[in-house]
C-alpha cells in the first residue's frame, strides 16, 4: 500500500531527504517561499468573487441594485432581509428554501449511494473476476465518459414516459410516474450518468490492491461476495469517500437533470431549480440570489470540509501509479 500512495508519504514527511518520486520533487519545489506567495495570491483572487457575493447577500436591495459590493466598506448598510426573504418568505414564491432543502437531500443521498454501490461492485468484477470480454467491457465503459449527458436527456425522458417499443412490441411499458414518484427518475438518471466515471475511478483503485490478498483469501475458501465485503470494501474507503464527495457535489449543484426529470413543482424540485426561479419572471428580484446561493452552499461546504482529506488522497490514489 505504501508504495502506491507516494503523495501521502511525501505529505507526511515533508522535510525528508531528497524525494524519490516525481510527485515528491514537484512538491518540494512548490514549497519555496515564492510558490507559497503565489498560491496565496491565487487563493485571494479566487476568493474575492465569493467574498463579494457574501457581502452582497447582507446588503439592502436598493444598495445591491445601485452599486457594487465594495461600497459596503465606505458606506456600511447591512440587513438580514434577503435571508428572511429566501428562507421564510410568506408567499409561496419568494423563497421557502427550507422545503426545497429536503427535496435536495432526498434527491442527492440515493443518487450518491446507488452509484457508489454499483460502481464498486462493477470495479471489483472488472478488476478481479476473470471472464471473457472483460477488457472490452471496461474500455467501453471508459469510453462512455466521452458521451455528453445532454445527448441522453431526451431518449431517457422518452424511456420513462413512453416506455420501450421495438417494431410494435412493447418491451417495457411507460413508467407513468407522477408527483413525488418522479424522484425515481432523477435517481435513475443521476446513477446512469455517474457510472462511467465512477467505475473508472474505483477500478483504478481496486486493481491496485495487492494480488496476494486475494490469493490468500481464495485459498482460505472465501467466495467473491465475501472477498468484496471483507477485503475490498474496507480497503477502498478513501476512494469511495472521494467519489462520494464528487458525486454529492455534482448532484447537489445539478440543475439540468433535476429540471428535466424532477420538474419544477414543489413536490420534487431541488434547491437549484428553486434558486433559478427566485429572481422572478424578468429577473426583477435578483437581490435574493446572493443569499439564496449561500443557503444552498451550506451543505456542500459541510460535506466537503469534513471529508476533504479523503478527497485529495482518494483521487490521487486512484490515478497515480507508484
Amino acid at each position: 500500500m505504501t508504495t502506491t500512495t507516494p503523495v501521502a508519504t511525501a505529505g507526511a514527511a515533508v522535510s525528508a531527504d531528497s524525494p524519490r518520486t516525481a510527485v515528491g520533487r514537484v512538491r518540494k519545489r512548490l514549497n519555496s517561499p515564492i510558490a507559497t506567495a503565489a498560491s496565496i495570491v491565487i487563493a485571494v483572487v479566487w476568493t474575492i468573487p465569493t467574498f463579494g457575493l457574501l457581502v452582497s447577500s447582507f446588503r439592502p436591495e436598493r444598495q445591491i441594485k445601485g452599486n457594487g459590493w465594495w461600497n459596503a466598506f465606505t458606506d456600511p448598510q447591512f440587513t438580514l432581509q434577503n435571508y428572511q426573504d429566501v428562507l421564510f418568505g410568506r408567499s409561496s414564491s419568494s423563497g421557502q428554501l427550507a422545503s426545497y432543502f429536503i427535496n435536495s437531500l432526498v434527491i442527492t443521498i440515493p443518487s450518491v449511494l446507488f452509484p457508489l454501490a454499483f460502481c464498486s461492485l462493477a470495479a471489483y468484477a472488472l478488476a478481479w473476476m476473470n471472464f471473457k470480454g472483460r477488457d472490452w467491457i471496461y474500455i467501453s465503459i471508459f469510453a462512455l465518459q466521452i458521451v455528453p449527458l445532454q445527448m441522453a436527456l431526451v431518449p431517457l425522458l422518452s424511456f420513462f414516459s413512453r416506455g420501450v417499443t421495438l417494431g410494435g412490441i412493447t418491451l417495457l411499458p411507460a413508467w407513468g410516474l407522477t408527483g413525488s414518484e418522479k424522484y425515481i427518475q432523477v435517481w435513475f438518471a443521476h446513477t446512469c450518468f455517474a457510472l462511467p466515471l465512477g467505475v473508472f475511478l474505483l477500478h483504478n483503485f481496486v486493481s491496485q490492491l495487492p494480488k496476494d490478498l486475494f490469493e490468500a483469501a481464495r485459498v482460505d475458501g472465501a467466495s467473491h461476495p465475501r472477498i468484496f465485503r471483507t477485503i475490498v470494501l474496507p480497503l477502498i474507503t478513501p476512494s469511495l469517500a472521494a467519489f462520494g464527495i464528487f458525486q454529492f457535489l455534482w448532484v447537489w449543484n445539478d440543475l439540468l437533470v433535476a429540471l428535466i426529470f424532477a420538474g419544477g413543482t414543489k413536490e420534487t424540485a431541488p434547491l437549484t431549480v428553486r434558486l433559478a426561479e427566485l429572481a422572478g419572471t424578468r429577473g426583477n428580484e435578483w437581490q435574493r440570489l446572493t443569499s439564496g446561493a449561500f443557503v444552498s452552499i451550506v451543505v456542500p461546504l459541510i460535506v466537503f470540509l469534513s471529508l476533504q482529506r479523503y478527497f485529495v488522497r482518494g483521487l490521487l490514489a486512484g490515478s497515480v501509479k507508484g
Binding site: 436591495e61 436598493r62 441594485k65 445601485g66 408567499s91 409561496s92 414564491s93 419568494s94 422545503s99 429536503i102 427535496n103 437531500l105 432526498v106 443521498i109 440515493p110 449511494l113 436527456l153 431526451v154 431518449p155 431517457l156 425522458l157 422518452s158 420513462f160 414516459s161 413512453r162 408527483g179 413525488s180 465485503r229 471483507t230 470494501l233 474496507p234 429540471l259 428535466i260 420538474g263 419544477g264 413543482t265 414543489k266 413536490e267 431549480v273 433559478a276 426561479e277 427566485l278 429572481a279 422572478g280 419572471t281 424578468r282 429577473g283 426583477n284 428580484e285 435578483w286
Partner: protein, 447 residues
Amino acid sequence: MAVNSRGRRALVLTSVLGLVFGAAACSGGDSGSENNASSADCAPYEQYSGHDGKTVSIYASIRDTEADLLQESWKKFEDCTGIKIDYEGSGEFEAQLQVKVDGGNAPDLAFIPQPGLLKRFADAGKLKAAPDATKASAEANYSKDWLAYSTVNGTFYGAPLGSNVKSFVWYSPKKFQEKGYTVPKTFQELMDLSDKIAAGGEKPWCAGIESGDATGWPATDWIEDLMLRTGGPDVYDKWVTHQIPFNDPAVVKAVDQAGAILKNPKYVNGGYGDVKSIATTSFQEGGLPIQDGKCYLHRQASFYANQWPQGTNVAEDGDVFAFYFPTIDPAQGEPVLAAGEFTVAFADRPEVQAVQNFLATPEYANGRAKLGNWVSGSKGLDVNNVKNPIDKLSVEILQNPKSTLRFDGSDMMPAAVGAGTFWKGMVDWINGKSTQDTLNFIEQSWK
C-alpha cells in the same frame, strides 16, 4: 466488526430516508377537498363541471410572485370544478418545453410567449387545435391582430392570455415637474426635450441591454418600435416575415433613427457612462438612474414597473411613470409594440379543454386583473378592474381603436435570427459597428 458498523450506518441512513419520504409525502397531500363552496358562488363555473378529480398540467415561463397571482386566479375554478391545476414555471421554459415534448412528457397546456415557437410546435403536429368555445370567445374579445399570431395555416391554436405593452418611455413625474418639462406628444417634441436636457449638461437617456445569454434584446425592441414609426405597420410586417431583406434601406432608416438617440454621446448613458456602457448595463438596472435624477428618459416595456425597488410609487403623480413612445407620423395611427403569451394545448382531454376555455373568457381576464400586476388585450376586460396605474395605461392603449398593434418582431423571426444574430448584432452595433455592417451581418444569417 467493520462490517457491523457499516451495516448499522446503512440502517441509520435508510431510516433517515424513510423519515424524509414521510415528510415529503405529508407535504404533498395538502390539497384536501374543499368542494363545499356554496353553489351560488360556483354558478359561473357550472359549464366547466364534470371533471372532478382530474388533473391538468400547465407549463410556462411565469414564476415567482406573478406565478402566485396566476395560481390564485384559478383557485376558485379549481375548488368549484374539482379540476386540479398543476402549475410549473421555469426560466428555461423555451428550451425545456422542446425537451419535454420530444421526450413524450409534454404538459397539457403551455403559455407560449413567442409566436415563432408556437408555429414550430404547430408545424410539427404537436399542438391540438383550440376547442370551439375557446375560439368563439377569443374571436369575440381580441382583435384580429392578436388572433393572427396563434393561427398557423388557418388553424387557431389558442387564445392570448396576458400581454404587455412595449412602446413606453419611463420618466420621473416629480423631476419633470421640478424642471418644468412636459410629457412629449410627438416624436419631434421628444427629440426637442432630449436636446433641451442635453443642453443643460445632463444626459437625457439611459439604457441597458445586458441580460445574460439574452443580451441585446432590449435594443431589438428599440429597433422594432422605430421600424413601426419610420416605416409603418406594413413595412414592419414585411420586415418580420423577411419579405424585405434585413438590410433594406427602410430598416437602415429605423436603426439610424434609434442610433440618433442610443449612439448619441450627448444623450446617453445617464448615470452609467458613455455609449458603450449600454452594452454592459443590465436591462434590470437600465432605467434606475431616473430615480436619482441622473437620467430622465428610459424606453422599456410596461413590465419594467416591477424593476423599481420596493416602495417606489409608480403612478402619474408618483416617483416614476411611463408615457407612450410618441409616433412620428400620427396620420398612420398610433403604432403599439406589444407582446404576450398564448394558451396552447398539447392534449385534448375534456378537462384540458375546460381549463383552456375558462382561461380564454373575459371573466377570467377580469378576475386575474383584480389581483393586480396584469395586462390583457381582451376587449372584455374592464379597465376599472386593473389596479396599477401603469397597467391601466397599458390596457387603455391596447383597447384604443386608434392603436395599430404589432407583436414583438424578434419573437416571430426564426430563433436563429430573432433570438440569435439580431441580439448579437445589436450588441456589436452599440459597441461601434456601423448600421449597414450590422444589418448585413444579420441578413446574412437569415436563410
